[in-house]
Symmetry: C2
Subunit: 221 residues, 2 copies
Amino acid sequence: MSNRRKSSPPPTPELKRRGLLLVLSSPSGAGKTTLSRRLLARDPLFEMSVSVTTRKPRSGETEGVDYHFIDDKRFTEMVGRGELLEWAEVFGHRYGTPRAPVEAAVAAGRDMLFDIDWQGTQQLSQMMGEDLVRVFVLPPSAEELRRRLIGRAQDSAAVVAKRMVEAGTEISHWPEYDYVIVNATLEEADREIDAILAAERLRSRRRTGLTGFVRNLLKEL
Amino acid sequence: MSNRRKSSPPPTPELKRRGLLLVLSSPSGAGKTTLSRRLLARDPLFEMSVSVTTRKPRSGETEGVDYHFIDDKRFTEMVGRGELLEWAEVFGHRYGTPRAPVEAAVAAGRDMLFDIDWQGTQQLSQMMGEDLVRVFVLPPSAEELRRRLIGRAQDSAAVVAKRMVEAGTEISHWPEYDYVIVNATLEEADREIDAILAAERLRSRRRTGLTGFVRNLLKEL
C-alpha cells in the first residue's frame, strides 16, 4: 500500500441512476416559464418533455421541438392505447404527454422537465408515482403577480383579470406538491431548484447503480 | 406605486416551518461522526439529540451534553410510559432517545441530528414518520473502510475484524434510507448533506408558515 493511496481516497465511482421527472407548476405570471428556460440552459442532464397536440402549428413553431402536431384520430388512438401519461382539452384542442419517451428517459438516467398545471400533475402522479419531483412556484405577493401579468404588454385588462382568478385555483393546489418555493428573485429560485435536484438525485430509490457497488463492497469486507 | 417598488420585488417572507429530524447512519469507520461534527459546526439550525443511558459517565463526559445519565429504574419507567422514541441494549447497558425534546424541537422549527444505527432508525421511523430525513453514508470502498478502521490506533486487529463484519450488516440496510451518499471526500459529502437539507426544508409539508401566507395571497387576488 503506497503513501499516495493513503492520502488520496479513490474518487466516488460514477454510478448509474434512474432519471427523475421534474414538474414545475405555478399560476401564470409566477415565473415558471423563465425558471424552466434557465434550468434547461444550465443543467445538461435535463430535457423538456415534448407534448402532442391536435392544434395547428403557429408561425415559428417547429414539429418535434415545440410540439408533436397530430390529428384528432391519432390523438384518440393514443388515449385508447394508454400511450399518454396525461392529457387535457383547452379551447377545443387536445394536448397530452406521450409515455414512451418519458419511460425511455428515466430508464437511461436522463431527467425530464414538465410544464403542466395541477390537473396534469395529478394524472402524471398516478402514472409515474415515485419518479416525479413536484415543485410548486408561488409569487411573493398578489401585487407582484398582478404587476408581472400587467407587464406582459400583450394581455388586455380583461385577460389579466381572468388570469388572476385562474391563479387562485392553481395556487390552492400547492399542498399536493412535494416542494414549494417562493419566486421573489430568480437567482434565489434557481438555487432552490438546484438544491432540490441535487438532493433528489441522491435518493436511494433512484441510485440503481449502488446495488452492484454495494454487492462488491460486501464481498470485499 | 413608486419606481423603486417596481424594480425591487419584496423579499421572500420569513416563514415558520416544522423542524426536521436528520438521521445519519453508516458502518463504523465510514465517517459519520466526523460528518456530524462538521454539520453541527456549520449549521446553526441544528442541535444534537442527547440520549439517555444507564451506563456510568466516563471521564470527560458531561451530563446533559454527552448523555443524560439515569438509573435502570428510571429507564424502565420511561419505556413503560412511551417516553422513548427508540432504545437498545448494548453490552448490558441501555440507551434511548427521549421523545419530549424531539417533539418540542420540530414544533419550534429547530432541526435535530441523530447518530443511530439501522435498528434505531427503524424504531424512529415508526414514531416520527414524515419528520425524518434518513441519510445512509457508504464508504467509497471496502479497502478504504479497513484503512480508516486501522487508522484508529486504539482498536486491536480483532476489534477491526469484528467491526468489518458489523459493517456488512449495517450496509445491507442502505435501501431503507431516503438518501444515500458515498463518503469519498468530506467536502463532497458536506455539500451533498447541505443539498439534502436545503431541499428538505422546502418540502410543502414542513412549510407550515405558508398556510397563512397563501390565505392572504388568495384574499388579495
